[in-house]
Amino acid sequence: MNGAAATVVLEETRKTFAGPDGGTVAAVDGITMTIRAGELTALVGPDGAGKTTLMRMFAGLLRPDAGSLHVLGTDVAAAPQRVQDRISYMPQRFGLYEDLSVQENLDLYADLHGVPQDQRRERFARMLEMTDLARFTGRPAGKLSGGMKQKLGLACTLVRSPDLLLLDEPSVGVDPLSRRDLWQIVRQLIDQEQLSVIVSTAYMDEAERCARVFVMNKGRLLAEGAPDDLRKQARGLTFTATPPDGTPARTLQARLIDAPDQIIDAVPKGGNVRLTRQPDANPARLDALLHDAVVEPRPEELEDAFMMLLRRHEDRTAAPAAPVAVRARPAPGTANGSSDKPIIVVRDLVRKFGDFTAVASTSFDVVRGEIFGLLGPNGAGKTTTFRMLCGLLPATSGHLEVAGLNLRTARAKARGRIGYVAQKFALYGDLTVRDNLEFFGGAYGLRGQALKARVTASLTQFGLEPSAQSGLLPAGYKQRLAMATGLLHEPDILFLDEPTSGIDPLARRAFWRTITALAEGGVTIIITTHFMEEAEYCDRIAIQDAGRVLALGTPHQVREQAGDAAMDMDSAFIAIVEQGRARHNHREAAA
């Protein structure tokens, strides 16, 4: 068998869609690649790279416009059903039936794939054990947390052992714990069943675990190879910069990221800044940027190479991401030197749904101009805490104060001082960008010239096209619009609920640049996130699990609490949550 060596073979494959302005957009622009069997292969790239289109073509859901595409030796366009009978595919938004229970969802997919009863028993038991869903078989899928839903989706996809497994961004919106679980499952299956797996992802640490990586951008293939080979492209360009004492890492990071002609990438990590310089960087300019920092070389990582490839391709194709310009309005409180007085006070906050305690006795303060991160696995109570702070949900008991008021009972005017960016895109999708901005501006009491000026300023600040229809924007732009809307009325406090979930690394860098600039301007920021490395941008973070606060302090303090101040945030998070759960179980066992 000749085809055994390759699962997917593309030759000059193209797929175009009708663009918003009547023209066509090439989502996959003449790609030639061969994906080997029996391996774990990653497709990586930012939003709009064409990963999902490619996955859907592999699955026979889209027909290529030109070129050829063979999956498992079959021409997919000619015989999609033949391919579909042999593969398993997990779409980005796995179509779980939310009104059916976990078991019913599993049964349905097992029946559809014709898994015999005797195999099924063994398979289900294993899947439920691996996904840790055995306790919840009777629960409707809609009532599961995001991470559990994703695991159930994977379990439904894997009710039988396919000849090829396609996973489209399986870990979007999933916390590090669930992400680790998901990968363990995939890993195990590859080892035990010699599965061929193709996974698309925006996480470089995931791509690093794959045998082969294809880097894509804007419908084109930029590079392919083993992670080790790709990584080498950034050799000699990667450094760690330690800012002088008293300077937060994010200040240095902001300075670096603002100089794209010298610096490819910079992110805060463990109190330092991890940077990659341009190969043709001017040494004098570089020295000027890093004059007060201690710079040491560090081993290159896949992410460095990825950012390098992307920046190079982006420079060739289009202008870089939106420039960040931020108002420098002194917050009213700081002028009086009262910046240490807490602007948000939470004392013994409790929220119960029936006999389920979503948030148990939580207390913390946030001072003006602080970036405060609420972290925790899916279902930890972050969003519930968050909704109570915004006044969307009444607290069962406890004390809650935002700018001296409880937003739920305060007069409507008090809500004018806060900005809110929801977890999923929550603007009016059928309206244009301008319509959305003008509406929310109006709702916050902006009128006439003032409104016009703010809308225009926001459009330029976030690089938004006013006449575009909001619902059709790419994820990164939707997120920008949501930010623009939340900031339109220049709030004192900004609430952000998982704002970076599902957007690519480039857009995330731009987003955080905006946030750090806002904090410098005196805006208080409360943010929840799944990306633990993002905790590095925060002044202080709180880690929640099962409704309880497990850790509270600066990222450094939290890492110390986890056991090692030098560990990365992901590991620190997992360590703290696991310590917390062990303690909790221990206490329960004792009681």
Partner: protein, 370 residues
């Protein structure tokens, strides 16, 4: 003063957004206004109780002059059309069953002879009763023709009943039905629009975004209600204009009173819709519960059958039905030219429903837990 202007500006921003979302693209505009126009035309022509075409079969076993004259009178009406001339009574069943004839007239062999000998001459009429209204009308029509024939023969004392119908001289059922459509056609879509407005925002997550703005529940209510009321009134206007200018049914009342009534009625419908919306978790629920409500509201409104024909207990139930009073009001203003004092009592239940449902919806916006 500044505070008031501010308040209004914020509300206006919401109204503007709702209207934009409704009317922005062509297809949604079409979905709002084309059906009203189409349905008015369809129902205007299609929904009629008037008898305009009665196919009949005749079995003339007498072959005499009397039968010929009676048939000539029948054909002279322009309504009765002879579908078949039968030769045996066995053929009657087939004609009626197949629906080719609505009725059959059977002149017995001795018809002329009995008339000549001054005996009563029975004339057999066999009616298809599958639609009893049509059958009853056709039967009454034949009876009046026969009565006129009898009178012309001097068989009955001359008694003329001079009919005069107020407000609808030719007793056209279209005159009765169409003004009622001004209220009922628009209700269906306004109710649905209102029912979906909040449910859709809840399902798409935008309602939270709305709740964190400084808008008060009252402002949200106004913002949601006004566009729906506006759409409802436009639909009513479309129906009104078609009736007035296309079907040429004369309007004898005050336009202001008509629109005042429609405004209150639409507000009541929107109140019901918004309450359903605030109670529903998904768009599906909002839609299905709306259907569940709309059916009885329309059936028990007097649109198709008079409220007076209903059993007592259902008549009482119709007091909670805004459509019943809206139809009464529109018909009376449109056809009778009723003044405010004539229809004042119709306003009471309409205002009552609006006064209960609108505040209820506003309260539910914030207090219904997701």
């Amino acid at each position: 003063m500044q505070a008031l202007a501010d308040y209004l500006a914020r509300t206006l921003a919401l109204v503007r957004k709702e209207l934009l979302a409704l009317l922005k693209d062509r297809s949604s505009r079409m979905l709002l206004f084309a059906p009203a126009l189409m349905q008015t035309l369809l129902f205007g022509y299609g929904a009629t109780y008037d008898l305009t075409y009665v196919p009949y079969a005749v079995l003339d076993q007498s072959g005499g002059a009397a039968a010929t004259e009676l048939l000539a009178r029948l054909d002279g009406t322009g309504v009765f059309k002879r579908a078949a001339t039968l030769t045996g009574s066995g053929q009657i069943a087939g004609m009626i069953e197949s629906g080719d004839a609505l009725l059959a007239i059977d002149f017995p062999a001795d018809f002329d002879a009995r008339l000549a000998s001054r005996q009563q001459a029975p004339l057999q009429v066999i009616l298809d009763g599958r639609n009893s209204s049509t059958a009853a009308l056709a039967s009454a029509y034949i009876a009046s023709i026969v009565a006129a024939y009898n009178q012309s023969r001097g068989a009955a004392p001359a008694l003329a009943v001079v009919r005069r119908a107020w407000f609808n001289p030719n007793l056209e059922s279209r005159w009765n039905l169409m003004p009622a459509l001004i209220a009922s056609l628009s209700m269906l879509q306004t109710l649905m629009l209102a029912a979906l407005s909040v449910a859709r925002e809840r399902e798409q997550g935008t309602f939270d975004q709305l709740l964190v703005t400084p808008l008060t529940p009252l402002q949200i209510l106004i913002g949601k209600a006004l566009p729906a009321i506006f759409v409802g009134l436009i639909q009513s206007t479309i129906v009104f204009l078609v009736i007035l200018f296309w079907f040429k049914i004369p309007f004898s009342g005050s336009v202001w009173l008509l629109y005042l009534g429609l405004l209150v009625f639409t507000a009541a419908s929107v109140g019901i819709g918004l309450s359903v919306s605030a109670l529903s978790l998904t768009m599906q629920q909002a839609m299905l519960y709306t259907f569940m409500l709309v059916m009885p509201l329309i059936l028990l409104s007097g649109l198709l059958t008079a409220v007076g024909n209903m059993p007592r207990i259902l008549q009482l139930a119709t007091y909670a039905n805004p459509l019943r009073f809206a139809i009464d009001l529109v018909r009376r203003v449109y056809l009778e030219g009723a003044g405010f004092s004539d229809v004042a009592l119709d306003f009471v239940p309409l205002l009552g429903v609006a006064a209960v449902t609108l505040p209820l919806a506003a309260w539910l916006f914030r207090n219904r837990l997701a």
